[in-house]
Amino acid sequence: MIENKKVHKFGMVIDLDKCTGCGACMVSCMSENNVPFKEDESNKKDSITWMRVYKLTNGKSFPETEIVYLPRPCQHCGGIGDHGHSPCVSVCPATATDYGYDTGIVSQIYTRCFGCRYCMGACPYHARYFNWWDPKWPEGMEKYLSPNVSPRMRGVVEKCSFCYHRYQLAREQAIVEDREIEEMEYQTACTTACPAGAIVFGDLNNPAHKVHQIVKPDPHPDPMNHKVVGKSRNPKVFRLLERLGTNPKVYYMSEREWVRKAGDNYLKGEWENVKTHHGASSSHG
């Protein structure tokens, strides 16, 4: 049983220069994961969008205006030092959300969640969503629901699971055939749906996987901030709010400096330092 012994660290790279903001990832995510919707979706603050596309601009006026679309799934944070105490996992009083040390995936156990919403308060990415209403499917539409994903009831929190059910299916197949999961056997719905091929998904621990090759994760903690582990050695790659030590497994990529800078908060003059250091650390990668 090779599969059970192997420690994965599933992660994602999203190329923001390729993303066109078409929203296919959002749609495929919703339909794949039986995400309920409201009759009136005009108030986005209580809509459920496991994958949400943000629109960022460089704030400059025409003709220098630039726009970037930033898809944001759950970042599957590894927590400070990447020890598995993600912002949301460490706070949930009922262990309804958990860190998979064998996959790096942050799970959500709907039947155990009692809706205190502490995890929502703790997640700086707003990746967690509460079911304010009972899910209702228009007549006939329940036939389209995926049988592999349980629908969630009113009063519980949900979020992106990196399509964990797809992992389970691939894993079972691999276990039966006594082999390891192949890279393409387990891919999230958003990855497969993206027409621009902006999303790459795989095992960050596996040097044969594309995500690993793009990210080139630093095996050592960041010398400038020991809370940060797994920083990319690719100078084009960054994570959101990396300096907080949440250690996300979703990496973003852009050629443009203003986009990379938008990934985090910097005090005056700090970015120059971080940027130089970032570039330097990539040289040994």
Partner: protein
């Protein structure tokens, strides 16, 4: 009509007047109960909370009542453990206020959770890393302790006390109360602290996050400290209000001034610690995460520096100074101003630590999330207040809450009789 139940020698208003008061407050209570059922049966969509503002008005109220209910544990600690005997004149009332605060807190939690029937999961699937788990355990245990502390007072009702068993039970319970006071103080230390920890451990939220000692962020200690400091202020404030409504002096000046003095010193030391914490956070913690102080207090229509200044200076430093200074402490007007400011200060602190956290954007491209509560939230937040008023009214009417009442009002009563 209910004369037989009223403590011996005590003067109370006529029963119909009492009932009119209860009915008016009861109507407000029912309004809250209606809103509560709406939240239970229709769900939390009845509120204006959303995924950005997952905690709302009543969660603030929850933390605020726990903070001001801290008067019970701290007064109990002083009376039973440190043997500050003068506090015997106010301890019954402090316990009743504490009981109201904690039962309200539990009620609010029952409304707040999305799946109330699963509330027990917090005990069953307890995550030892979560501060909220600690809160749940300590809060429930402490509520049990407060109930035990409240029982002897109920048993002292004139009619109940005639039953020899209850009479002796009350007597014996008084005898062992120090044990419960100590247990209560211990539990309170942890749950007040862990409520502070709830915010302080959120390392993804730089507005809340604090460094600290081992697993405890500074907010853990600040919350316990502030509850012990401002809780007695609330006890004094409610006493003052009760005195105004009943038109009687219920607690002697010596006791009031003593509690005010202790509170004053606690507030002063707390506020020094709070200022140090704020400075360290503003100049070390937040900048290490890429934030400057202004980020948390600008670019929005509500959370300005005014909130920090009001909490720390106006409602922290000022009441502290007014209460440690003998002349202002013993002057009823300045003392009352100080205790009102103190109560506002601790409530504002809880507001900031619950709601401002949610409102501040963390992602560099995010915006402030402001929020206006729905009437259901307002009603369920007022519900505990109405319940508290009714419980205090009933307790005052039928239980010997204030041991000094007869002695303090003797001359007035005799004068009235002549």
């Amino acid at each position: 009509m209910d004369d037989a139940l009223i403590p011996e020698g005590a003067k109370r208003c006529a029963f119909p007047i009492f009932m009119i008061g209860i009915i008016i407050v009861g109507a407000v209570l029912l309004w809250g109960v209606y809103a509560m059922f709406l939240c239970w049966f229709k769900g939390l969509n009845q509120t204006n909370m959303n995924d950005y503002y997952g905690f709302a008005l009543w969660i603030w109220a929850d933390l605020a009542v726990i903070a001001v209910g801290g008067g019970a544990f701290f007064t109990g600690l002083l009376k039973y453990i440190f043997k500050v005997d003068d506090l015997k004149n106010i301890i019954n009332f402090a316990v009743i206020i504490g009981f109201i605060c904690y039962s309200s807190a539990l009620l609010i939690l029952a409304i707040d959770i999305g799946q109330p029937l699963r509330g027990w999961f917090i005990f069953w699937h307890a995550n030892v890393h979560s501060m909220l788990t600690e809160v749940a355990f300590c809060l429930s245990c402490y509520f049990a302790v407060l109930t035990i502390e409240f029982i002897p007072n109920i048993l002292e009702n004139r009619q109940v006390n005639k039953v020899p068993f209850f009479h002796h039970l009350a007597h014996n319970m008084h005898g062992v109360m120090a044990v419960f006071a100590a247990t209560g103080a211990f539990l309170s230390f942890f749950h007040q602290g862990s409520l502070g920890g709830v915010a302080g451990v959120m390392f993804g939220r730089p507005f809340a996050y604090r460094e600290g000692l081992l697993i405890w962020p500074w907010t853990f200690f600040l919350f316990t400290w502030s509850a012990a400091a401002f809780g007695p202020c609330f006890t004094l404030l409610v006493t003052k209000i009760t005195e105004m409504i009943t038109g009687k002096k219920l607690v002697g000046d010596k006791t009031v001034n003593l509690l005010a003095k202790i509170s004053g010193w606690m507030i002063t030391t707390y506020i020094i610690a709070k200022i140090i914490d704020t400075i360290y956070w503003a100049f070390v913690t937040a900048p290490s995460m890429g934030f400057k102080l202004g980020h948390f207090y600008s670019n929005n229509g509500f959370y300005g520096y005014w909130i920090l200044i009001t909490e720390v200076i106006l409602c922290g430093v000022v009441p502290g100074l007014l209460l440690i200074n003998k002349s202002t402490r013993e002057n009823p007007a300045t003392r009352t101003i100080a205790i009102i400011l103190g109560v506002i200060g601790v409530c504002l602190n809880r507001w900031v630590m619950v709601l401002q956290i949610m409102a501040v954007p963390v992602l560099s491209f995010d915006t402030w999330a402001l929020y206006i509560p729905s009437w259901q939230e307002v009603a369920t937040t007022i519900l505990p207040v109405a319940y508290g008023i009714i419980l205090i009214a009933v307790a005052y009417r039928y239980l010997p809450v204030f041991p000094q009442e007869l002695e303090l009002n003797e001359s007035a009563d005799t004068a009235a009789q002549n």
